[in-house]
């Protein structure tokens, strides 16, 4: 009788611990999704700003057709990206294209004095740093989630209920602290 009771208590304890782990995994997964939503909001905000920017620059620099095309293409690609990894690659391309656009803008003094252009530039670099911060927050959350799935004994529960590790959102950030600004 005593042995049975001890066994019962042990099984009960194991179940309670398992429930705790399962719940914290679910909680972390939701936090990952939520922080990805934050990234997404900022990315969309940037996609919305880009056409305005292109139009404004076009008004002063009609002949730079190639650059506009590159930016527009990169934007479309970024919007249609599926996985987190693809998104990261598309964002890298978009960053590069935007950099060339701003480099081109440097050659047009009247454009640089345009109030609308300055405002868009501030909005864009603001959004860019928000993307960076949202990405940082997302990656931190993903790391917590992934680590939790790897350590013992949570890995047993994670395997049992088929939890998948999340992908990090990676973007190359050469001068992370500087807003897009290039001078030749």
């Amino acid at each position: 009788m005593g042995v049975l009771l001890i066994l019962l208590i042990l099984v009960g304890a194991v179940i309670i611990v398992a429930i705790g782990i399962y719940n914290s995994l679910i909680n972390l997964r939701n936090r990952c999704d939520n922080s990805w939503a934050q990234v997404d909001v900022q990315l969309r905000r940037r996609y919305d700003l880009i056409p305005n920017l292109v139009e404004t620059v076009k008004g002063y620099a009609k002949h730079e057709r190639e650059v506009f095309q590159k930016v527009t293409e990169a934007r479309t690609q970024a919007i249609n990206a599926g996985t987190v990894k693809e998104q990261g690659q598309a964002e890298n391309m978009l960053n590069g294209a935007l950099k060339t656009l701003f480099a081109v803008a440097e050659n047009y003094p009247e454009l640089k004095a345009n109030q609308n252009f300055l405002m868009l530039q501030e909005e864009l670099s603001g959004t860019e740093s928000k993307i960076a911060y949202a990405r940082q927050f997302y990656n931190d959350t993903v790391m917590k989630f992934n680590v939790k799935q790897q350590v013992f004994p949570a890995n047993i529960i994670a395997n049992m209920f088929n939890f998948k590790e999340k992908e990090y959102f990676e973007i190359e950030v050469p001068e992370a602290k500087e807003p897009v600004k290039v001078s030749f």
Binding site: S35, Q38, Q42, M119, E122, E123, S125, G126, T127, S129, K130, A132, Y133, A134, Q136, F137, A176, K177, P179
Partner: protein
């Protein structure tokens, strides 16, 4: 981090309780001396309760009013709001509204009672004199204060210290003049007046070191280092804040809207000209050189 939050909540609770008792005691003593009976006791309870309640819910507004800070909209200060919103995302907090003090001395602080009810205040000088990376460092420092609930302790301290100072001042005046008049008209009760003077003197003697102790209790210097470290973790760029701190101290302009009760809120001490031992008693900020050195080691 979570330890710090828990400690700050305990501290606030203690501050509130301490304040409640003190106000109760002060009002009660005052009314006793004014010759009131049981109704005085009831009134003391009501006054103490009401003041504590008000100080919890509106001390941030009091602080903003004292500092002459004005709310600003995003469309007028897109640059400031972009930086603040970015760091709110990094810290995982709701973006706080921004206030501005129209003063060329660069400085900043945060106030509020929890992350949902907090604001960030900067001077116009700060916006003019810092570049983006530096401003991000400063805002990240304030965001850490909000996340760690430092704002609650600091803001409560301002109002409570202010109220205690005001009350003791008021009591002194009342009994000084009131007692003097009574003594000249009714000579027979001179003994009572003398007793009152002794009590008032005692209360004041107890209060003044208590006020400075209260500030010290609430604003441990470690908290500034901690906020600097969290700021570096948010921006992932410690040199930004380090260079901002260097610029802020190099600026020798005092901030007019700051006083002894609010000085400990600011990122660097806004009271520059006052030196001497009295100021040391109120020194609530660790030396800037140490903070910069700590940031550069990261």
């Amino acid at each position: 981090m979570y330890e710090q939050i828990a400690r700050n909540k305990w501290k606030s609770l203690f501050l509130i309780f301490f304040f409640l008792c003190l106000i109760f005691l002060l009002t009660w003593v005052f009314e006793k001396m004014a010759g009131w009976g049981t109704e005085g006791l009831v009134l003391a309870v009501i006054v103490a309760g009401a003041m504590t309640f008000v100080s919890y819910y509106s001390s941030d507004k009091v602080v903003l009013a004292i500092s002459r800070a004005k709310p600003v909209e995003k469309k007028d200060y897109p640059y400031l709001y972009n930086v603040v919103e970015g760091l709110a995302i990094a810290a995982g907090l709701p973006p706080p509204p921004c206030y501005i003090i129209d003063d060329t001395a660069p400085n900043a602080f945060a106030t509020g009672r929890n992350p949902q009810h907090s604001v960030i205040v900067v001077t116009t000088g700060l916006l003019e004199k810092l570049n983006r990376a530096e401003l991000e460092g400063v805002i990240a420092h304030e965001m850490s204060h909000i996340r760690n609930y430092d704002v609650l302790v600091q803001t409560l301290t301002v109002v409570m210290v202010g109220v205690v100072a005001l009350l003791s001042d008021w009591m002194l005046r009342t009994f000084w003049w009131g007692g003097g008049r009574r003594r000249s008209s009714e000579r027979g009760r001179g003994g009572g007046a003398a007793g009152i003077f002794i009590i008032v003197g005692l209360v004041l003697a107890v209060l003044s070191p208590l006020i400075s102790q209260l500030i010290h209790f609430a604003v441990s210097r470690k908290r500034e280092f901690l906020a600097d470290a969290s700021a570096a973790m948010l921006t992932r760029y410690p040199p930004g804040l380090a260079s901002a701190l260097r610029k802020l101290t190099a600026d020798k302009e005092p901030l007019e809207a700051a006083n002894k009760a609010t000085a400990h809120l600011y990122i660097v001490n806004p009271l520059i000209d006052i030196g001497g031992s009295v100021n040391k008693l109120f020194s609530t900020h660790p030396p800037i050189e140490e903070r910069i050195a700590a940031l550069e080691k990261m």
